[in-house]
């Protein structure tokens, strides 16, 4: 059984936001009005978090793309009272919308703040309704959603591999963000396969995970030269 993981090379990432847009288009993420956004209700499964370092005139900005970490020890699943969010056997932290009762315990429990609540039914301009991805359901009002590592692509990839009577190969299943990255900074694959690209990169000396000391064991692994303390400011 594979254990899906993502590697993001921060030294290659230019902060272009292609992954953010690819994610929104792929997963039917609804628009949020400026008023709602001001109330912190923006939904963005993939987000680029800017980290400003130093003071003028010596300012440096780092960008860190932040999808769901798909933790091996997820804090969100432990608080879900209805088994709407759980870790499946392939290590994906699933979010099953029709089961969700909207209690938002998971939203509060996630230290990476990747869980988003639908405060109202999603709305799209009439011209955009035909652009919705039929492979992903739109979420109703009152449920929590988050990055799924585009698991709808896995459903199709598995079926295709079965139909062609072969095992799933590296590259058969890749989330939209990884596919869209123009800098080639994102990698995706099976962490349990020692020969896979992600497993090899995860062994690199540059590898680190966000808020590793919490013991969540994220399966999104970042690469960066030198010391990196995540969103904390460096001294």
């Amino acid at each position: 059984m594979p254990r899906w993981a993502m590697v993001i090379d921060l030294d290659k990432c230019t902060g272009c936001q292609a992954c953010v847009i690819a994610c929104k288009a792929e997963n039917n993420i609804p628009f949020v009005s400026p008023e709602q956004a001001a109330m912190g209700r923006t939904i963005s499964w993939m987000e680029i978090i800017p980290i400003v370092e130093g003071e003028y005139p010596r300012v440096r900005v780092r960008y860190i793309p932040r999808p769901c970490m798909q933790c091996d020890n997820p804090p969100c699943t432990k608080v879900c009272p209805v088994y709407a969010t759980f870790k499946n056997e392939e290590g994906l932290v699933a979010q099953i919308y029709p089961r969700c009762i909207g209690c938002r315990y998971c939203t509060a429990a996630c230290p990476y703040t990747v869980k988003y609540f639908n405060w109202y039914a999603p709305q799209w301009p009439a011209e955009m309704r035909a652009c919705l991805n039929p492979d992903v359901s739109t979420r109703p009002k009152g449920v929590v959603e988050k990055c799924t590592f585009c698991h709808h692509r896995l459903q199709k990839a598995k079926e295709k591999a079965r139909a062609e009577q072969r095992e799933l190969r590296e590259g058969d299943y890749v989330p939209a963000c990884v596919q869209s990255c123009p800098a080639g900074a994102m990698f995706f694959g099976d962490l349990d396969d020692p020969m896979s690209t992600v497993a090899q990169l995860a062994r690199s000396a540059r590898a680190f995970r966000l808020l590793d000391d919490l013991g969540t064991e994220p399966k999104v692994i970042y690469l960066s030269e030198g010391e990196w303390y995540g969103p904390r400011k460096r001294a």
């Binding site: 392939e90 699933a94 919308y97 089961r99 492979d135 359901s137 698991h151 459903q155 079926e159 139909a163």
Partner: protein, 165 residues
């Protein structure tokens, strides 16, 4: 007292009657009174018309050209059959309505179940092949428990993520 009783009875009748009259017909009405049984009895398989079942998630409703393959010239004197050629003359596709529907948050693939899983169409679609007129609702109303019971019986995945999306 009697007046209150009378008023209540009239009110109940009015609301109930109004509901019965205005209640919309919720079933599916097909543009042509298609007879499945005649086609099956003449040796056609489900796949003859629902031809995408082996390659795609949906089995598909037949295109006009599929119908015209046999019905280009009249085979019977049925006025329903004549409708096919009327659609052809107008250059329109036949607007077949979908009978079996799953919620949008479920991924169901015909290729996966029928070709790879070797499950007969009748398992989920019942005796639609024996129907002589288009049913207004599916014979079998599939619930998630039906899916899970079959998945457990065959020892395949019961992971929510395998079907929900």
């Amino acid at each position: 007292m009697n007046r209150i009783l009378l008023f209540t009875v009239i009110l109940v009748l009015a609301i109930g009657g109004g509901y019965l009259v205005a209640k919309p017909f919720s079933g599916v009405v097909q543009p042509i009174a298609f007879n499945h049984k005649v086609h099956i009895d003449n040796g056609l398989d489900c796949s003859a018309c629902h031809e995408r079942y082996s390659q795609a998630a949906v089995a598909g409703r037949p295109k006009l050209t599929t119908c015209l393959f046999c019905h280009e010239t009249p085979l019977t004197e049925s006025p329903e059959e004549e409708k096919i050629r009327q659609y052809a003359e107008r250059g329109e596709e036949i607007p077949w309505r979908r009978l079996t529907r799953l919620p949008a948050h479920v991924y169901f693939s015909h290729r996966r179940h029928v070709v790879l899983g070797q499950i007969a169409c009748q398992t989920c679609h019942g005796r639609i092949g024996q129907s002589t007129s288009p049913p207004s609702r599916p014979e079998i109303q599939l619930k998630m428990n039906d899916c899970l019971a079959c998945h457990r019986q065959r020892g395949v995945t019961t992971d929510c993520n395998a079907c929900h999306r």
